[in-house]
């Protein structure tokens, strides 16, 4: 087992001006489950493939433990790419399916059996070891595939969107299994996904990338509570955060008929680059529906209500008289509000919402960086 260190690791494709991964600095602790997440083209898969040895590192270096592996061949890095190919062999027993890579490597029979039995115990497959894969359920087959990687006892597991080929139900199931299994094994794991829900539910820590640049790294709670910039704020969380940029008037962001009161530190942090404006973010779940006329209330015209049983979300637009633009995961000019599922407003109605105190996120309108207040 080992730590993983990206030290100013850079990947520049020939003929391209901007690096696919730009001077990535990231330290992953021994036994940690780290998720690389971001939109397509952000450099997450490239970062993983650099660690696997499948992409050249043009500058900087990569270490596994204390060992510099920057120029080491993939098969000599002591890593395992999991789930890349998980087809099982129908005529081999479960034990042979798990152990055949060791057999190829010339590991003594007795040791193969011991390692396979250990892995089977962790995977709850002990009683199936002498059966054929045909006799197993879909989930058990997935675990056999995982077992193949476990018996090799690699220093690091690498997983590149391992669930993308599965249907939605199996995806959620397997997600939980992988996460709990990783915790039982304690093997350092780097996991790539474009799905922020997957990242939030699985990772000990999450690293968000965009355009080859690391945006923020932290626990799921850190990312949700204190996103470092507008990008992370909009990317993490489902439904996505509502974000708008407004002029600052006195100690408040001016929305025309409505306004959002700002802490004094935030107002004084505004720089010339921000041109007298501030970016305000508020999550759908950070809004209270209040009676018309309440101070600081923002009117929202209901376009669609999405009822999910335990929750209900209003997708609306800012009411008349409100200046400025708000965008969210639902699109430009769309505001998302979580409402009480037992008191759902009708389409076309105007509701009034207020940001719960302390649950707003403030960012520089110029740089998009978080204003810590």
């Amino acid at each position: 087992m080992a730590t993983v260190t990206y030290d100013h690791a850079t990947r520049l494709y020939p003929g391209s001006e901007r690096p696919a991964v730009d001077a990535l600095n990231l330290h992953i602790e021994d036994g940690e489950f780290l998720v690389l997440v971001g939109p397509s083209g952000c450099g997450k898969s490239t970062s993983l493939r650099m660690l696997a040895g499948l992409e050249d590192v043009n500058a900087g270096r990569i270490l596994i433990g204390d060992r510099d592996v920057t120029d080491v061949q993939p098969k000599d890095r002591d890593i395992a790419m999991v789930f890349q190919n998980y087809a099982l062999y129908p005529h081999m027993t479960v034990a042979d399916n798990m152990g055949f890579a060791l057999k190829i490597a010339g590991t003594p029979k007795a040791e193969i059996r011991t390692r396979v039995e250990e892995a089977a115990k962790i995977l709850d497959l002990t009683q199936y070891l002498d059966r054929k894969p045909k006799a197993l359920s879909g989930g058990q087959r997935q675990r056999v595939a995982m077992g193949r990687a476990i018996v090799r006892q690699p220093q690091v597991f690498l997983m590149d969107e391992p669930l993308s080929n599965l249907d939605a139900k199996l995806r959620v199931q397997t997600r939980t299994q992988i996460a709990s299994l990783q915790r039982r094994l304690g093997v350092t794991t780097v996991y790539v996904t474009h799905d922020q829900t997957e990242a939030l539910t699985m990772g000990d820590r999450i690293a968000v990338l965009k355009d080859g640049l690391l945006q923020q790294v932290g626990t799921p709670r850190d990312m949700y509570d204190t996103p470092a910039n507008v990008f992370v704020a909009g990317f993490i969380g489902s439904p996505a955060m509502n974000i708008g940029t407004f002029p600052v008037q006195g100690d408040a962001a001016d929305l025309g008929q409505a306004h959002v009161v700002l802490p004094r530190e935030a107002v004084s942090a505004i720089s010339s680059e921000d041109k007298g404006q501030i970016t305000v973010g508020f999550r759908p779940e950070a809004l209270d529906v209040v009676p018309q006329g309440t101070a600081d209330a923002i009117p929202v015209v209901v376009n669609i209500v999405e009822e999910l049983g335990s929750d209900a979300f209003v997708y609306g637009s800012l009411g008349r008289g409100v200046a400025g633009e708000v965008r969210s995961g639902a699109g430009d000019s769309q505001v998302i509000v979580r409402v009480d599922p037992r008191q759902v407003p009708g389409k076309g109605e105007t509701i009034h919402v207020r940001i719960r105190p302390g649950e707003q996120h403030l960012f520089h309108a110029g740089s998009g960086e978080r204003i810590s207040a």
Binding site: Y13, P14, G15, A52, G53, L54, E55, D56, Q73, P74, K75, Q84, N85, Y86, A87, L88, Y89, P90, H91, M92, T93, D96, F100, A101, K103, I104, P133, K134, R141, A145, S164, N165, L166, D167, I304, E306, Y315, A330
Partner: protein, 435 residues
């Protein structure tokens, strides 16, 4: 946010209206046997079925929508790069069951006629070096893929189809799901692909041994290791930089000849000399597979595989010598050979036997048979007699190979004649899909 109405969408390069007649509202696993051509029996992560469509056979794979579009595009790009692979037909999305339950997208590819899955090849009583010849074919395919910048990610015998190519095989890529197309592959990508190939091949052979379809005496590890050796030899021959002194310039032509022998044309050769001009360095920059098949195509219009072409070109050379026309334009002679020799011979194959082998492969076997008869009778047996004897004694014992779809090792073991049984569509039970 409004729910999208169930709407079937078919993205296809060539729209065949018959596509609409397939039961897209039914999960693939439950498709009625009357639309199926056969059931696949190999190792697959997904549900795959073969269906009849406008006289041909299509392979349908149920798979996530993004992955389906991605693989469709990749297969299209590989075709443009002239890589031997299955032809992508289209993607079907927006499938819904009658109760509104959404169904997975489907990727459609055309079944490659006369192709054989490796399991079928291992189970036929073929010559003992079948494994080696399959590995050679796969090594050539992998080198060609790597030359165009394709990283496969899951190289295996299961993801490959084989077509007979004279006494050897030609390999075709079937599954590009894990692949990626790059401008150029790094040494790390190539070596990882090769390692995956090695481990998968050994695993697949061990599986055949576990099922008692392949003798325990066969050394699976040795065969798997062979792909690494074959790949590296070929890669070096095609890409290595070579230096020699200015006086040895004949080595330029020698290198080109060697590449031609390996079946590659040199599209671009980088030649540099050092400042005082005493040393010459050459390195092939662009090489294209299919040297012999291109030449035969140019001369005769026949579109056949590389080693079949090699064999036919040799026969053409013999014809030229026998008819004493070495001084004539090659393409005129080739035209006469085609109409006087090749076509009459393959046309003699009765219609009911035409599903057994491709014409070029039949001709290759005719040449073998001619050699055999001539040896036996100690005279030069004319082609007319050869064809008669071949159609009477050899061809009837050969299996139909035009559409070998659902054949698994299990089916083959039960027949001792070595003939290739066709899987009956009703046999829904022994289906084996893992993963």
């Amino acid at each position: 946010m409004s729910p999208t109405p169930p709407r079937l969408q078919i993205t296809a390069a060539t729209t065949d209206p018959a596509l609409l007649d397939l039961p897209w509202h039914v999960p693939l696993e439950q498709w009625p046997s009357e639309v199926l051509a056969a059931l696949p029996r190999g190792i697959s992560r997904h549900i795959v079925r073969f269906a009849r469509l406008s006289g041909g056979v299509v392979a349908i794979k149920e798979i996530g929508e993004t992955v389906a579009y991605r693989e469709y595009e990749l297969l299209r790009q590989l075709r443009k790069l002239e890589i031997p692979g299955v032809e992508p037909l289209g993607v079907v999305t927006g499938r819904h069951a009658p109760d509104g339950e959404p169904l997975e997208a489907c990727l459609l590819t055309r079944h490659l006629s006369f192709s054989l899955p490796y399991r079928a090849l291992f189970s036929q009583s073929l010559q003992p070096d079948t494994a080696t010849r399959l590995i050679d074919a796969l090594a050539v395919l992998l080198v060609r893929l790597h030359l165009v910048g394709f990283y496969w990610g899951d190289v295996s015998l299961s993801n490959t189809l084989f077509r007979r190519d004279a006494e050897t095989f030609a390999a075709y890529l079937v599954d590009a799901e894990t692949g990626d197309l790059h401008d150029k592959l790094s040494p790390g990508q190539r070596s990882y692909d090769l390692e995956v190939a090695r481990v998968n091949i050994i695993g697949e052979l061990m599986d055949l041994q576990a099922g008692a379809f392949l003798s325990e005496d066969v050394d699976a590890v040795e065969i798997g290791d062979a792909i690494v050796v074959r790949y590296q030899e070929l890669w070096r021959a095609l890409t290595e930089r070579e230096s020699f002194s200015y006086g040895d310039r004949w080595r330029v032509q020698q290198r080109i000849d060697r590449l031609n022998d390996l079946g590659f044309d040199v599209g671009e050769l980088d030649i540099t000399t050092d400042i005082d001009g005493t040393t010459v360095r050459i390195q092939p920059k662009v090489v294209d597979a299919g040297h012999h098949s291109r030449r035969l195509m140019r001369l005769t219009g026949l579109d056949v595989q590389e080693n079949q072409a090699r064999r036919l070109l040799n026969d053409l050379d013999e014809y030229r010598a026998a008819t004493d026309r070495q001084m004539e334009d090659e393409s005129f002679v080739a035209h006469d050979w085609l109409t006087d020799v090749f076509e009459p011979a393959v046309r003699k194959v009765p219609r009911e036997f035409r599903k057994k082998l491709e014409p070029a492969q039949v001709y290759h076997e005719l040449l073998d048979h001619r050699w055999f008869l001539s040896q036996q009778q100690n005279r030069d047996v004319p082609m007319k007699e050869v064809v008669k004897s071949y159609v009477k004694t050899v061809l009837p014992t050969r299996p139909d190979e035009q559409a070998v779809l659902g054949v698994s090792a299990e089916d083959l073991r039960e027949t001792e004649t070595g003939s290739m049984p066709r899987v009956h569509p009703d046999e829904v039970d022994g289906d084996m899909l893992i993963g």
